[in-house]
Subunit: 99 residues, 5 copies
C-alpha cells in the first residue's frame, strides 16, 4: 500500500454507475520515512474513500485489484483509501502522529 | 484512478473482436493539483470510452483489471474512461471546472 | 492500452507450454501525440501477437491481466497485441496513417 | 518479487476490517545486486506481514494480486511480505547473509 | 513480458509455503534492442523459475497475475521465468543468440 495525503475532491455527474455511492478524493503520495512531504515529480491520483476520511488526513491507499476487496467488487476503481494512519514509526523514531 | 485529457482517437480495422463496439481514445495525463497541464515526460495512452466523452474533455480513467468492471468483462482493455470530471477542488481552491 | 511499433521477434525452445502457439514480438513504445518516435529511455518489451501483425507495424498493446482476455486465458502473458492501428488523430491533425 | 528492508511500522485505528489481524510494515526497496542500499529516489511502501518479520530484516515482498495468495484472499492489500531472506548470491559472490 | 538475465539466487527458510518447491532467481532487466546490457538505473527483482534456467541465461519473465498461469496458481509470486531465449532478431539483425 502507499501512504498519501488527501488533498482534494473530484465531482462528476456523468460516470459509471459503479462509482455512484463513493466519494472521489485526490491523493498526493507522501514519503513518511523522511518528512511526510510529497516527493518531487510525484503525481496526484484519485481514490474512492472506504473509511470516511477528509481533507489533509494521512491515509493508506491500496492500488490495483485490491481496491475492490472486500467492499467494492463492482466498482471500477483501481485505488481505494482503506485506512486513516494514526502513527508511523521508522526505527525508534515516531515520524508521524495524527493530530 | 488518473485524471486525463482526451486528446485524440485511434482507428483500427484489424483488432480483437472484444474491442468492436468501443471508441478508442488517446488520453494525456494531467496534473490537476496545479494547472491541469500534462507533466513533462508523461506519455499518452489509449482507453476505451465507457461514458460518451469527447475531444478535450477532462476525464477519470481507471487502469488494470478495473477497466473491465462492470461493463466490459470480455474486452481486452487495461484502461477505461469511467467519468467526465465536472470540478476538481484542491484545499479551498476550485482548480478545475468543466466549461 | 499502449501504442507501440513491432521491432523484432523472440525465439524460444524451452518455454511454458502455454506460449506454444503464439508469436513473441518485441515492441518499442511510441509516442503518437508527437512523432511516433520511441521516447528516450523507453524500453522494449515482448508481447504475444493476437491479430497477425509484423515488423514495423504500429499496434495497440494491452498489458496485465487484460492480455489474457478473451483469447488467451491459459497463456502466461502480461502483454498482447490486440489491434493494428490504421490512423491516429490528435485534435484536428492526422498524426499517423498506416501506409 | 522485490527485496526490501523493513524500516518501520504503521498503526491505524480507522481501517478496512480486512486489515484487522495484520501488522502493517514500512518497507524500503534495496538493491541486492550491489550493496543492499536503497536506490536514490526509491520510495517506501507499506506491506502486510505474512511471515513474522521485524525491524531491519531483509525480506521478499510480492506486489499486486499475488499479495492475497494464498493466505489473505479477503485482505485489501497490494503488497505482502512472504519470505525472510537468508542469503543472496550474485554470480559467485555472496552479497547478503542474514546475521 | 520482459527480457532479463539471471544474475543470482535467493535462499529463504522462513517463507510462505506456496514458495516451497520453487527456485528464487534474481533477474536483471536487459535491453535486447541494443546490446543486452542492463539499462542504467534498472533494478533487479526476484522471479520463480518455471523452466529450469540458470546463472547468466537470457530469459523471458512475465509479471503480475500472469506469473501464476498455468503452473503456479497457489504461489504468491508476481514474477515468473517462463522461457529461455534462444534468439532475438531486431529488424534484419540477430542481436542475441544463446551460446
Amino acid at each position: 500500500m502507499e501512504i498519501g495525503r488527501v488533498v482534494g475532491t473530484v465531482v462528476s455527474t456523468i460516470k459509471s454507475s459503479g462509482l455512484n455511492s463513493y466519494k472521489l478524493l485526490v491523493v498526493a503520495p507522501v514519503e513518511v520515512a523522511t518528512d511526510a512531504a510529497t516527493p518531487e515529480g510525484a503525481t496526484t491520483y484519485v481514490a474512492i474513500d472506504l473509511v470516511g476520511t477528509g481533507e489533509d488526513e494521512i491515509v493508506l491507499v491500496t492500488r490495483g485489484s485490491a481496491a475492490r476487496i472486500p467492499d467494492a467488487s463492482n466498482v471500477p476503481t483501481d485505488a481505494a483509501i482503506i485506512a486513516v494512519v494514526d502513527t508511523v514509526q521508522i526505527g525508534s523514531k515516531n515520524v508521524y502522529s495524527k493530530a
